[in-house]
């Protein structure tokens, strides 16, 4: 546990030292703030004291921003060779992977924490459904964790950050959009399967304020699959071929 934290701490510091974190936070707050308060179907247009429009926007902004955070996590280490230093220190591959995962996740947590004033503001304007807001944030966190895990995986298979970024978007877009689009064109079990695979379905049900173990299991499975894939790629170097 201690080792994981050491790695997380270093990654987090490098996010902030490289200004990456600040750019991320400013862009995210800028985008989500603009569409939540000023433009399009913003809160005043909807006329309800809810953060639905914010969650809807964040669903997309995080989708694009997370690969930008995760792309360097392993690809950069493989390019500069520092991965050799890291794995020859007394840490396991899992500790490295989870450490890096947590660093990206904490950065997202910090970013989302900065939107709490939105919640406070809306709560002061009208009667807000507190549990729906909580669930909405929880949904965003689960979604972020899933995409971080996918991003970490694509970062592990290449030493080129751009490839890692595009790879994460490519895999992500299936869960984000394509599965749910295709599923509407099918019937029967295929539609149900694709509907289940679609991340947006699960996210929306959470953002509406409904918590279901089915959704939690879904997110946890994606997170686990991504991390497991990363571990398999990292451990390939031990391989006998």
């Amino acid at each position: 546990m201690n080792k994981i934290w050491i790695i997380t701490k270093r990654e987090l510091r490098s996010f902030f030292d490289s200004l990456m974190a600040y750019v991320m936070i400013v862009l995210f707050l800028g985008f989500s703030g603009f569409f939540t308060w000023i433009f399009g179907s913003d809160i005043f247009l909807v006329g309800q004291a809810s953060l639905q429009s914010f969650f809807g926007i964040s669903f997309w902004t995080l989708f694009f921003f997370i690969p930008a955070i995760t792309m360097g996590l392993l690809a950069e280490e493989q390019k500069s060779g520092t991965i050799e230093l890291l794995v020859t220190k007394p840490v396991s591959d899992w500790q490295i992977i989870i450490g890096k995962f947590l660093a990206a996740f904490l950065l997202i947590c910090i970013t989302l924490a900065l939107t709490i004033p939105y919640y406070i503001t809306v709560a002061n304007i009208g009667k807000i459904d507190h549990s729906a807001v909580l669930m909405g944030y929880l949904g965003l966190l689960f979604m972020s964790a899933s995409y971080i895990s996918i991003g970490l995986f694509t970062s592990s298979i290449t030493s080129n950050q751009i490839v890692a970024f595009l790879g994460a978007l490519f895999i992500g877009i299936f869960f984000h959009l394509i599965f749910s689009l295709i599923s509407s064109g099918f019937g029967g079990w295929i539609a149900r399967l694709l509907g289940y695979l679609s991340l947006s379905t699960h996210y929306e049900s959470m953002a509406r304020g409904v918590i279901d173990s089915k959704d939690i299991i879904y997110f946890l499975s994606i997170i686990f699959a991504g991390l497991l894939g990363t571990e398999l790629v990292l451990s390939r170097r031990h391989g006998s071929n």
Binding site: I6, R10, R13, P90, S240
Partner: protein
Amino acid sequence: MEVSVENLTKSYGFQKAVDNISFKVDTGEIVGFLGPNGAGKTTTMKIITCFMGSNDGDVKVGGVSVQANPEEVKRHIGYLPETNPLYKDMPVIDYLRFVAEIQNVPKAKIRERILEMVNVCGLKGEKYKKINELSRGYQQRVGLAQAMIHDPEVLILDEPTSGLDPNQIVEIRELIKKIGREKTVILSSHILAEVEATCDRILIINKGKLVADGTASSLRKQAQNKEIVKVTIEDGTNEEIYRSLQSLETVEIVDILPHYTQAFEVQSKADMNSRKAIFRLCVEKGWALTEMTPVERKLEEVFRDLTITN
């Protein structure tokens, strides 16, 4: 802590990078790894440090297998990879702190160890600079500092002095020697003089195979079973001396050394000794023998013989 490599084999595709290598390094021994480019030095080091797996064979560090318990092995190893990768966006002191923490250095001792490493590696003036602002030589020092920060039992250094200035090379060699008294050190180098000056034992590896194992002097002897002496004789003529020397029973070849006056290199037949015969010859002919010195073969020649002929 001893390192024993047992029948290690590693191939990349069809090419065998390391081919059935076995050797053992004891505590308090500094072993130099020599070999041409692509001989398998770096691969062997990567396997010892648990970066890579092997196809066959095993490495044991202090009796613990790198395959069975890599985490235990890694605690005792300090490793400086050939390319010296570093987190370039970190300041030196933060980087060393990170490595110290991850290497299980007790919290109370971290500050002390960092200061010691900064002093030992001559990084005092640079410790607050970012690593990418440092010159190549200073980066190499940071690499060495991170390898030694947890006072490891086994130190594996892949070309430790590359990029250093001559003064620093001498300092680092002294440092390695000092560490090597109590710890186990394996280092690789292209510079033969360096290996000879620093190491107790030399391993020469070529095309993945171990071709020589011994001290510098034993390697020289091993490669030179024919005695060579340099002889300078005053009086007589070049031609006469040449013919007389050549006619000695034990002598195989006589060379006239071009830049000296009446100096010759006399090579004896295998396992024979011509020094007495040369002396008697001079007495007989009434020549003054002014020099007779055994010619030692240079390590470079030994190296070339071992790595080119195969």
